[in-house]
């Protein structure tokens, strides 16, 4: 497993992908940092992380799309299937390599933390919490990207699929509130069970609550307030485990069906 991890991580830096991803985050973070230093005379590292987190949409498909699809295309997946390393370890090795790259991409923001500290700024639990939630959510999206990459030998399809999944997850709150509105207005018009408007509104709220329950961003939002709780952590880790397990099953299935 270590061999696969090392090869994957090194291959990010043999191609431009690793450097581009790191540069993108260094530029975005640096831009935000210097901009807020000069215009607002105040810098919040948590906000900086929140900003660059938006770019997961681009960066995570970029770093995960080739993980399995390229192996299939180049015929190198034979090595993984015929080696004595069990397939789930290959999945883990590749996954951890991508997560490691994500952490490397954060390196430039550590520079900003040092700058803040050196100027007597405040680095507290909420900053730490922001970092943890950034990595947790990034790790979750990476597990989605890894799964997308196992689906197909076409990197573009893998990237589009994982982008779509990430957009969907990012928009869960918006989806929840608009579904709530639609639900309430439709039921109020037809109202087959002749419910009171109050209970219709309640039902709509519960529907939105159920959708929001699945939203990793709102779950980990307490982290950036400096509150480190166990339940969002377990939520994200279970989802990651689920996606990696699905990846493993997709790869295992291919052994039986492919031509």
């Amino acid at each position: 497993m270590l061999a696969i991890y090392k090869r994957e991580l090194a291959s990010y830096f043999r191609s431009p992908i690793g450097w581009v991803a790191m540069a993108l985050y260094a530029v975005l973070g640096g831009f935000y940092f210097s901009f807020s230093m000069s215009s607002q005379s105040a810098v919040n590292i948590s906000d900086e992380l929140g900003l660059i987190q938006l770019f997961f949409l681009i960066v995570i498909p970029l770093i995960t799309m080739r993980l399995f699809s390229e192996e299939k295309k180049n015929g190198t997946e034979v090595l993984l299937y015929t080696s004595t390393v069990p397939l789930y370890k290959a999945v883990l090795g590749k996954y951890l390599a991508a997560v490691s790259l994500l952490i490397l991409m954060l390196l430039s923001t550590f520079l900003h933390v040092i700058l803040v500290l050196s100027m007597g700024g405040l680095i507290n639990a909420s900053t730490l919490g922001s970092y943890i939630s950034f990595i947790l959510i990034g790790a979750l999206y990476i597990s989605i990207g890894v799964m997308a990459s196992a689906f197909t030998e076409n990197q573009i399809i893998a990237a589009v699929f994982s982008s779509a999944m990430i957009i969907f997850t990012m928009l869960l709150q918006v989806i929840a509130s608009s579904l709530q509105g639609i639900f309430v207005s439709i039921i109020s018009v037809f109202n087959p069970l002749s419910l009171s408007s109050e209970s219709i509104y309640k039902a709509g709220e519960n529907l939105a609550g159920a959708i929001n329950w699945m939203d990793p961003a709102s779950r980990t939002s307490s982290f950036s307030q400096g509150i480190l709780s166990l339940s969002p952590l377990l939520f994200c880790i279970s989802l990651i485990a689920l996606f990696l397990f699905l990846t493993y099953r997709i790869l295992e299935k291919r052994r039986w069906s492919q031509g």
Binding site: N74, T76, P86, S257, Q258
Partner: protein, 315 residues
């Protein structure tokens, strides 16, 4: 050593491998012969654990490939049809990765890689990126990959396809050298190749085994379809009728005619050597012979002969 019994593989509705059974003894070079799409690659993919069979069993040194994959796979080095190379790595980086993947002990890695690179003669390109290597070198890096971890069995799928003649000879010699310490299974659709290196040949067609035998025995079976190719200057009709009357000649067919130069194919009875009498016939009529050779049987002819002789036996 390797036991394959009743292997069946379906791709959807298509039966790619149909109840194949054979065994491979230790130290043997087994040739796997068949036209494209006969099921060679599928069988090899199954016996190396890359694919799973629909039904049937593969054991390597007594270890079932599905039940004890780690032990079974450890004994096998596989070179698929397309060498599994990471094009962005250098040869050395790649072999190092393979050593780690196969769990070669750290102390042995350098020594083993050096030995293999010397044996397959890629030491001079060890620092080059695989992407920039020629096809022949890539193939040899692929073979080196299969040899790492010192597996007892090497499975090579069409190891000489796409190489130039000199490289083909190189690879054949390499396979012969390897067979001193390894059991080798190699597939090919080229008959002379299999004849040149293999102890035993499995012929497979449409997913079924049509013959298992030594190359000598197979060419013996082929004996009644021997052909000669003759090119001479002179009239076709006269020459053909003269040749037909010779004892041992079964038939004459024109292949090409150009400027009174005839290329013909003569089917002969292999028990009678007609070459001398053909020579003197041509000489006596002053039809100069420009080219005269015996034709190697093609794979199609092997199939025809093997399958038809099977049918004869059944009757």
């Amino acid at each position: 050593m390797i036991e394959i019994s009743n292997l069946v593989k379906y791709y959807g509705d298509k039966k790619a491998v149909d109840h194949i059974s054979f065994t491979v003894e230790k130290g043997e070079i087994l040739g796997f012969l068949g036209p494209n799409g006969a099921g060679k690659t599928t069988t090899m993919n199954i016996l190396t654990g890359y694919l799973s069979a629909t039904s049937g069993k593969v054991t390597i040194n007594g270890h079932d490939i599905l039940e004890e994959p780690a032990l079974a796979k450890k004994a096998i080095g596989y070179l698929p049809e397309q060498p599994p190379l990471y094009l962005d790595m250098t040869v050395l980086e790649y072999l190092k990765f393979i050593s780690e993947l196969k769990g070669v002990p750290k102390a042995d890695r350098i020594r083993q890689m050096a030995e293999i690179m010397r044996l397959v003669r890629i030491a001079d390109v060890s620092d080059r990126v695989i992407h920039n290597l020629s096809k022949g070198y890539k193939q040899r890096v692929g073979i080196a990959q299969a040899m790492i971890g010192n597996p007892e069995v090497l499975v090579l799928d069409e190891p000489t396809v796409g190489l130039d003649p000199k490289q083909i000879i190189d690879i054949r010699n390499l396979i012969k050298t390897l067979s001193k310490n390894h059991t080798v299974i190699l597939s090919s659709h080229i008959l002379p190749e299999v004849q040149a290196v293999c102890d035993r040949v499995v012929i497979i067609s449409n997913g079924k085994i049509v013959a298992i035998d030594t190359p000598d025995a197979l060419s013996h079976k082929l004996a009644d379809t021997s052909k000669l190719a003759l090119t001479f200057e002179g009239p076709y009709k006269d020459a053909a009728s003269k040749i037909r009357t010779l004892p041992g000649v079964k038939g004459v067919a024109s292949i090409r005619e150009k400027d009174n130069i005839q290329s013909i194919e003569i089917t002969i009875d292999p028990k009678i050597d007609v070459r001398k009498s053909i020579f003197f016939t041509m000489a006596s009529h002053s039809w100069p012979i420009l080219e005269f050779k015996s034709l190697d049987p093609t794979l199609e002819e092997i199939f025809l002969s093997v399958t038809s002789s099977d049918e004869k036996k059944r009757r």
